[in-house]
């Protein structure tokens, strides 16, 4: 059986249509993700509108150093992911797999950096609750949103990392050929997670630092 026909899944008639379908499916899923993050960011916008001064004060305690490193890591990972996608379309198996592994590493680097930042935040008493370091109550709103928003983003990134790892294994073992429609979906999702981060970077780290 040829590579192509191995790549085509039921009930798709051919690989090109399947690719298009997977693309459409991922975009439809991302539409739901936009609404998911949108509800959260609406909460952020409303609370920031109610308490502008408190948000500025609270955000001045974020660690822009970590945030910027993370932005660089994620943006680079989008480049490597794009390389993987193009390589898969050109049927360059080794390049695809290597680019995916690089993407994986950058993503893990992000998580590690985030972990260090979380540790610093906890040490500084920036977890809302009894031991909260800042004394104006609405500053807890900013930090509450910080933990929820970055946490959910990290979960999405982790899911992406897991998927990329699984895909790398499947490609390595030749269970699916690299020119399957898989890369289409994986790449689009990864870029979405990156795009969300860019938005978050502005909303969390650049508040009052403009």
């Amino acid at each position: 059986m040829s590579e192509v026909s191995r790549a085509v899944q039921e009930p798709w008639p051919d690989l090109a249509t399947q690719r298009e379908g997977v693309g459409l499916g991922i975009w439809a899923f991302l539409a739901s993700e936009v609404l998911f993050f949108g509800a959260l960011l609406t909460t952020y916008a409303v609370y920031r509108g109610f308490n502008p001064a408190a948000f500025r004060a609270a955000a001045s305690h974020t660690e822009i150093f970590y945030g910027t490193i993370n932005t660089v890591l994620l943006l680079t990972s989008s480049v490597t992911m794009t390389i993987a996608l193009r390589a898969s379309e050109a049927r360059l198996r080794a390049t695809t797999i290597n680019a995916l592994v690089l993407t994986l590493a950058l993503g893990l680097g992000f998580l590690a950096c985030k972990g260090l930042e979380y540790h610093d935040d906890v040490v500084q008493g920036l977890v809302p609750g009894a031991g909260f370091a800042l004394h104006d109550p609405p500053t807890q709103l900013f930090w509450m949103l910080y933990w929820i928003i970055t946490g959910i983003h990290a979960i999405h990134l982790s899911a992406g990392i897991l998927v990329v790892a699984v895909v790398v294994v499947l490609f390595r073992r030749d269970v699916i050929p690299v020119q399957d429609s898989t890369m289409e979906g994986v790449a689009t999702y990864w870029h979405f997670v990156d795009a969300v981060w860019i938005l978050l970077y502005a909303l969390i780290y650049l508040v009052g630092r403009a």
Binding site: V46, F50, N51, P52, A53, A54, D136, P137, P138
Partner: protein, 327 residues
């Protein structure tokens, strides 16, 4: 207890609401009748085996018919919207100089405080033919004061004021009850709503065994809680003078200008760093946990009694909105 204690329309507004209701019943009834008659008519006439004319109608006719009934429906619905909106708009602004009664809702009871100091639990007395404005807050979860005879209800929120106002016209004993699910005894959070002729109400409040009115009690609290330590002319600490503050415009440190209404005063006591007055340092301590809801009602009544600024009764635009609310 009789049904009339629920269904009597005890204000002019309630009567207008009832008119709207019956208009809708008539319109809906007619529409339903037409739909049912057509459905049943078609079921009989066009049942399988009956010898009625069949066949397609011309396309152009079908098109006209569709546009026709779409337009008719749209206009009918717009008419109903207009009637309903007019009824709503007519009751939008609270009348000036309304009698203010404070309502504190908590699981699972009601506390009402009249401006003269009279206090009641689970029963609310109001004068007839007098504008009344209820200033309401909750001590715990969201409640809702439902006054069926007035066709009114409004959610009551914690840490915020919401308002209901009315001019009741028919003296009698009616019902009030909670209409936002609030836990175990939500269905027992009910009481009496008594509308009395105005003179009877005056006699009733005078006869209530409560001490000073709210403003006097507020003055006492102002001293005992330590507010006067900073907020008196001549105090060593630089704090805003509160004489005439109620209803006045206040310039804040971040450049905004706000009106000092109930919500502003309440926030200034509980969240003093939220809206810092221009020219003052943010050194006021918070009285969260120190001043109870009842205390806040009294303190604000006292501050109001120190003379008002422009508005007699708080914000005059969009009064149904609690101050600070967004659309």
């Amino acid at each position: 207890m009789t049904l009339a204690q629920w269904t009597t329309a005890a204000s002019n507004y309630a009567v207008r609401v009832d008119h709207l209701f019956w208009l809708l019943v008539v319109v809906s009834g007619l529409i339903l009748l037409v739909v049912m008659a057509l459905a049943v008519g078609f079921m009989i006439r066009y049942r399988s085996g009956a010898g009625a004319p069949r066949g397609e109608l011309p396309e152009a006719f079908k098109h006209e018919v569709e546009i026709g009934w779409t337009a008719a429906t749209l206009f009918l619905f717009l008419f109903i919207f207009w009637w309903a909106a007019s009824t709503e708009l007519s009751a939008l602004s609270p009348p000036a100089n309304a009698l203010e009664i404070h309502v504190i809702a908590k699981q699972w009871m009601w506390r009402f405080q009249h401006p003269t100091g009279a206090r009641e639990i689970d029963t609310l007395h109001v004068p007839a033919n007098t504008p009344v404005r209820l200033v309401m807050t909750s001590e715990d979860v969201i409640h809702d004061l439902y006054l069926p005879a007035l066709r009114l209800k409004q959610d009551i929120l914690p840490d915020r004021y919401t308002y209901e106002w009315f001019t009741a016209t028919k003296p009698g004993t009616y019902w009030l009850t909670c209409a936002e699910y609030c836990g175990t005894d939500h269905s027992r959070m009910a009481g009496k709503f008594v509308i009395m002729p105005a003179q009877d109400y005056a006699r009733w409040t005078a006869a209530q065994p409560q001490g000073d009115d709210l403003a006097h009690e507020g003055a006492a609290l102002f001293r005992t809680l330590g507010c006067s330590g900073c907020h008196t002319p001549g105090a060593s600490v630089h704090a805003p003078d509160l004489h005439g503050v109620y209803g006045h415009l206040v310039h804040l440190a971040d450049g905004r200008t706000v009106t000092a209404d109930d919500a502003y005063l309440r926030d200034s006591i509980l969240l003093p760093d939220k809206d810092i007055v221009a020219g003052f340092a943010p050194i006021m301590p918070s009285f969260q946990g120190v001043a109870t809801e009842g205390d806040l009602v009294k303190l604000i009544a006292y501050l109001k009694s120190l003379g008002t600024g422009q508005a007699a009764n708080g914000p005059t635009d969009q009064p149904a909105r609690q101050p600070g609310a967004r659309p």
